[in-house]
Subunit: 349 residues, 2 copies
């Protein structure tokens, strides 16, 4: 038989109310009674029923987390973040309730969970530039913390984000150290927030290093687009010696375009990506890329949400984390004039 | 103000008990009262508090799901399964509660969730050959459904699995159609259940197609091991024309070993993988592989668990799903005698 408030109370010779007090307001109970009942609780292995505790404390102990959509990528990046969030929540005494956003209306899933008091707050991820969720939640005074800024209004709510501009700047600085002078960028369409941020890091660092930016190409995130944009960069009279990509997915497309053109990435033209996804470490690709501290981001996003649950007047906090560069074969050799179209021309003269 | 049992009761001019009856035992209430109160529930948008309902119904509405460990792989396969399980649970009226298995003792996390009545049952994944969880849960009469058989006792509990032997047989049949006669296998160490199952499909189909098995190599799942075992296969006097791998991870290592030896996978030696992970579709790899129907597996595993929750005497059910073959460049050309070491010898004679 499962231990309950009643079995503990009966064995300890006290009332159910006394056991409840010891759990919720121990200062109300005399020390000797308290010690006796606590020993009995331990002996029976009694644990409060979660639903009863939820009703009493007006909290569910659950953090709502919408499962990221399964993208064309499936980069394994989401795996890492979900795992980090689940572990951090447990260490703070919470569990994660997963839900999907499929179906209409837009905020329907959030509304339904709140209506049932099924969660105490939300962790947002896969945020978009003009994400509708932040304002909706702020308007209802629902605690939340976001992994990723809402770029259209970066002052809204608590968030944790990775400094994408700093990450791309690391890649460009590394290329400068390897002697590259002419660089190009393959990015996402303007307006994505995250993509614009990464591009700004490219421009900032290229300028600081006195490099020539041969071109900036933009398109949707896919292998095919990465390959198409890389071919366009390689077809120009002034070819770059290094191509900086906004994502590993784009970089992998770029890698295949180079190989199809008979070039060896890292030898003829350098490539960098962003994400350190599984494909970056594939030996046939071996991509220099920017790694995001996802476990740390998971810890912080849970901390920012729990702070609001414990103390409703908690200050809104923003955390910007620094990524690191992982160097692989795609930037292995130093840039030499011979890889440049212009230099070839000069040599022939 | 949030609608409650009381606001509905007051507006409809009935008692709280009457509203509660309409929600839980509507046959007890006269039709006209029932209609009036239901209209008021709709008008106010009242939804029962989840914790109150949980206490009343002795169910949490939550399915416990341990987040898969973040492996060296991070193949994106887990992403797809987690997403499928979450969606299927919602369609059945449940949510998924995520937890981790970190820390001791082994079943501690399961025990704690049950003790708090935090979940109604469990979905197991990442099952091992002698997984301790199945017997522990059966012994406590806890409903569960497993993605993956417990190979040491495949009769225990409800499970959904992918027919790995059939998947590898598809790959071998495809190689036979392309004219391959000499095949080798790169597998996992004996005893993993899943790996042994896949190997059995290789042996069955190779025999049925009258092929010569040049060798079977085994090792831990990694790029490096795949590359090392592939080199061993290629060093032998009778070289295979095709290498069948137990996983995409092994196949990617095999791919890099071939390229390092100056061979083109799919041209000089064919390679097949298993998983259709993200790396398989990378253009530089372009791997023929076996795709698992993960969304379907997610649907079934939730269905098997919910069946036990709705009807405790529900029959234990086992579902074996058929995978499919995805053909890419790594098996693009037909086997020709010239790729064979023995044939080379004969030509020289």
């Amino acid at each position: 038989m499962h231990p309950t408030l009643r079995t503990v109370a009966d064995a300890a010779g006290v009332s159910i109310q006394t056991v409840s007090n010891i759990l919720n307001a121990p200062h109300k109970v005399q020390r000797d009674t308290r010690d006796r009942v606590k020993a009995e609780i331990l002996r029976q292995g009694y644990r409060p029923n979660r639903s009863a505790r939820s009703l009493r404390q007006r909290r569910s102990g659950l953090l709502g987390f919408c499962v990221p959509r399964v993208g064309a990528g499936g980069s394994g990046v989401d795996d890492q973040f979900v795992h980090a969030v689940t572990g951090a929540a447990e260490r703070a005494g919470y569990h994660v309730l997963l839900f999907t956003e499929e179906g209409e209306p837009a905020m329907g899933a959030y509304d339904a969970l709140l209506g049932q008091r099924a969660v105490d707050g939300f962790i947002l991820s896969s945020t978009t530039a003009d994400d509708p969720r932040h304002e909706w939640l702020v308007g209802r005074r629902v605690p939340f913390a976001s992994f990723g800024r809402r770029w259209a209004d970066p002052e809204i709510g608590s968030w944790v984000d990775i400094d994408g501009a700093a990450g791309v700047a690391l890649a460009v600085d590394h290329l400068a150290m390897r002697g590259h002078h002419r660089v190009a960028f393959i990015g996402w369409p303007a307006g994505s927030g995250v993509g614009d941020d990464r591009l700004s890091g490219f421009e900032r660092s290229a300028t600081a290093n006195g490099m020539t930016v041969t071109d900036i190409e933009r398109g949707e995130n896919s292998h095919d687009t990465g390959a198409r944009l890389a071919r366009r960069l390689l077809d120009q009279p002034e070819r770059p010696t290094a191509i900086v990509c906004v994502s590993d997915t784009m970089a992998v497309g770029c890698d295949s375009a180079l190989r199809s053109a008979g070039m060896i990435p890292g030898h003829d033209v350098a490539i960098t990506g962003f994400d350190d996804s599984v494909v970056a470490s594939v030996p046939a690709v071996s991509l220099t890329t920017v790694r995001q501290p996802l476990p740390l981001a998971g810890d912080h996003v849970v901390r920012l949400l729990v702070a609001q649950l414990v103390e409703p007047a908690a200050t809104i906090e923003r955390v910007l984390l620094e990524p690191t560069l992982v160097v692989r074969a795609s930037t292995s050799s130093t840039a030499t004039p011979i890889t440049s179209h212009l230099s070839d021309e000069r040599k022939r003269q």
